[in-house]
Structure formats: C-alpha cells, structure tokens
Amino acid sequence: MTITPITIAFFIMAAFTLGGSLGVVTNRNLFHAALYLVLALFGVAGLFVLLEAPFLAAVQVLVYVGAIAVLITITIMVTRRIMGVTESVNRQWPLAAGVSAIMAITLGFVVLDRFAGKLPVAAVPGDNIVRLGEALVNYDAYLVPFEVASVLLLAAMIGAIVVARE
C-alpha cells in the first residue's frame, strides 16, 4: 500500500472515530463520554469527506453533531443525579451485550459480503447532490423508503407533542 496524504487523513479520521467510540464506552464521567461521542461523529464526517461525499459529511455534522449530540449533552446537564453514577455497567449488561453482538455480526456480515475485495470504489460521476435528490423522488430508486422515513419522523414528532401536552 502506498502512503498518500489521503491515506494519512484516513488513518487520522479512523483514529478519531475508533478512539472516540472507545472513550464513550469506557469513560465513567457521562459528560466526558458524550464529548467523546462528538469526536467519534466528527471522525465519521471526515471519512465522508474522504469518500468525496461532502453532502453526507455536512449532514452528518448538522444532524448528529449539531442536533443529536447537543440534545444528549443538554439532557446530561439538566439531570444532576446522572453525574454521580460511578459504576459503568448496570444489571442489564448481559442483554445489552447480546444485542450488540448480534448487531455487530449482522453488520459485519453485510459489509464483508457486499464490499470485501471490491475496494476502492470509483467516485460517482456527475453532481452528487443532483443525483441524490433525483434518487429520492424516483419511483425506481428510493421514493418509497424516503416517504416511509418521512411518515415515521412525522409520527414521532406528533407523538412528542402529544406526550409534552399531557
């Protein structure tokens, strides 16, 4: 393997992602764990940039770093009790370990099955954003999943409003 600036950048971003994830699960201070999560999410955004997918990178930062992680941080800030927790596992850890293992095996299988030995993938020709936008409204492409996801989000939003009203 030849070392190019891109490879170096890839390893830095991969280190951010993996190191951040490790920090999330090993840190006992919940607030620090949340900040490690932000680092890991940034690493993923960097990987998207290296894959020439600037749209996904920007959305990754906008949605995950700028919205979801901020909400997690605020939740921790306003929940005083949470900060005092010292043990890093609770009684349900065997269940969580089982679910995580199944997820890891499934995802690993899909990735290895689809992509092993097929790298590097050539860049998508043309304007990424235009193609993505067209794919989201094309019946043969992703119209149905897109609409289903929209309905799901709408239902979650209405549900949140109903819960907040009660």
């Binding site: 607030f31 600037p54 920007a58 930062v61 906008l62 800030m77 954003i129």
Partner: protein, 343 residues
C-alpha cells in the same frame, strides 16, 4: 505531487490571510462598537491611544494577555480550557466556503478570492453554526457556577431554537437559485438582489443572525441583572478575550453570509470588476461595515427580550412564518408563473 504541493501552499496562504483579516476585523469591530455607541450616547469613547483611538485594540490586547488566568477550584479543568477554543474555532472557519471576490491575478498567478468552493456551501455554513453552541454549553457546564450553568443552558436553548428558522430562511434563496453553492448564489444576483425575491426570508435571516451571535436584543445568555455575566462569569484573561473574539468574529461572519445570500455578495452593479477584480472584497467589506453598524445601533437602541418571550417569538412567530415562506417559495419555483420572474 507538485500539483498537490502548490494547492496546499495556496490554501495555507489563503487560510492564513483569512484568519489574519478576521482577527484584525475583530479588533477594529470592538473599537467601532465603543466609538459608535459613545456617539449615540453623547459620550466621547476611547480616543486616547493613538490618533482617534486607533491603537485602543492593541492596548486592550496587551492588557488582556498580562491578566491573571484563573481556573476555579471546582471546575473541570480540561473542558474549562477547551471551551474558549471550541467557541472561537467555528467563528474562524465559517467563512471558508464563501467567495470574497472574483478571480484576481497575484504576481501573474490567477486565483479566486475564495478559500475553497464546494457544492454544499450552504450546508457547510449551517453545520458550522450548529456546532458553535458547544463552546458556550461547555463553558457554562465546566465552570461549576450556577450563573454560568444557567447562562450556558439559556444560550443553547436559544441557539437551537433560532437555528431552525435560520435554516428555513436560507432554504428559500437555495430554492430560487437552484444550487447550494455560494458562488452560484452570488452569480444569480448579478442584476437583482435575492432580498427582492425573498424579503421575508431576508428579514428572518437578519433577525436570527442576531440571536445566533447572542447580540442585543437577544443577549440573554449574558443578562447582567439575572446572571452576572452568564456563561463566561468565571473566565478571565485570554480565555475571556477568546469568547469576545468569537462573538465579534461571528458578527463579521454572519454579516458576510447575509450579504452573500441576500444582498449580492461582493457584486455591486459590475463595479466589482474594477482594479482587476480587487474591488470585489472592498465592496463586500463596505456591506459588512454597514451590517456591523446596524448591530451596534440595535444594541444601543433596543432593550433585552424577556426569556419566555424570546422562546415564544422563535417558535410561535419566526418558525411558522419561515415554514410558510419555504412552502410558498417551493410552489412558486415549481409553477414558475410569469410575474414571479419579472420581479
């Protein structure tokens, strides 16, 4: 490899120049604010350091560097130190995708006056504004001070609420132009500024940019009566200065973005082509100066919002109007009626 090296050096020079001009801009915006507010309030303002007080920012800088740097006992030291840096970084990088002028020749080397051009420029701006809440939140949390904590929480809630309306108001020009690249958006305003097509979106953007920079009348995170100094209560010395630096650089940043999205960017009736293209940045600086004067003028004129009114205004007034404006714009762009292209 040589090509890669040239590109890297070019980007590094541009980045250094951009950071230098933002820092200079920050220093002189503080002077502009103090002098202009003094004028409004029938005072003199700082005029002793250098002619017309022009050396005042340098004097302030020297003073702040030699101040004692205090870290409170109960503070989370790492995050307490990290927070000012995390506040300043988004303010420094937000203009990376904005074209500050057309193409110019520098010693026979033709280059564009933009650090980089990307087809997702608008999204980049939204992403950077969305991460700029971290610095303030972390500063509030790590200070181990109830005023700082409350100030940090308030500021986070405010920025998240107003980001929605801001994002929707940016969506309107993107739909009209049909591109998320800021260069395309500026080119589309050769003849008519987008604020003419999108007056409501322009107004909402201007209102939300005051909230995003935590400036009056939305400066609740640092409301003195209730919160002493809000999230930066415990900060001193250079760390304190970093928060102010971020605030003023953000003011410059959002002014440039407002000018770019709604007021023609660096273009002004073709005048930007004078002096071999160097007139473009000058025009942009002029527009930014006007916007900064408006920032100061509003601070000197309007009282502060009450907190519940601020949240109500964001969620119950700005957001519905911005949503309706985005929906109507979408319909108009698709239908494209003859009268819509005329204005």
């Amino acid at each position: 490899m040589i090509d890669f090296l040239t590109l890297t050096i070019e980007a590094a020079i541009k980045a250094a120049l951009m950071i230098l001009s933002l820092l200079t801009g920050f220093a002189y915006t503080t002077l502009l604010e103090r002098r202009f507010i003094a004028r409004i309030q029938q005072r003199v303002g700082p005029n002793r350091a250098g002619p017309w007080g022009l050396l005042q920012p340098a004097a302030d800088g020297i003073k702040v560097i030699f101040k004692e740097d205090i870290i409170p006992n109960g503070a989370d030291k790492v995050i307490f130190t990290l927070a000012p840096a995390l506040t300043a970084i988004p303010a420094l990088i937000i203009l990376a995708v904005v074209p500050l002028g057309g193409d110019v020749n520098v010693f026979g080397y033709r280059t564009s006056l933009a650090l980089t051009s990307t087809n997702v420029g608008v999204l980049y701006i939204l992403a950077v504004t969305s991460i700029s809440v971290y610095g303030i939140t972390l500063a509030g949390w790590s200070s181990a001070n109830k005023y700082a904590m409350l100030g940090g929480l308030r500021s986070t809630a405010q920025m998240i609420s107003y980001e929605l309306a801001m994002g929707l108001s940016i969506l309107a020009p993107v739909m009209v132009v049909g591109s998320m690249s800021l260069a395309d958006i500026i080119d589309a305003q050769k003849n008519v500024w987008l604020v003419v097509y999108q007056p409501i979106a322009g107004l909402i953007f201007i209102i939300t940019m005051y909230a995003e920079t935590n400036r009056a009348p939305f400066d609740l995170p640092e409301a003195e009566q209730e919160l002493t100094a809000g999230f930066h209560t415990e900060y001193s010395g250079m760390k304190f200065a970093a928060f102010y630096m971020a605030e003023y650089m953000k003011m410059i940043g959002v002014s440039v973005i407002a000018a770019t999205l709604f007021f023609g960017g660096y273009r002004l009736f073709g005048l930007e082509n004078l002096l071999g293209g160097w007139m473009g940045p000058v025009i942009l600086i002029g527009k930014v100066m006007l916007s900064l004067l408006l920032f100061v003028w509003i601070r000197a004129t309007l009282p502060r919002f009450r907190y519940d009114r601020l949240m109500d205004f964001g969620w119950k007034v700005l957001l519905p109007i911005a949503l309706a404006n985005a929906a109507i714009t979408a319909v108009l762009v698709v239908l494209d009626p003859w009268w819509y292209r005329l204005i």
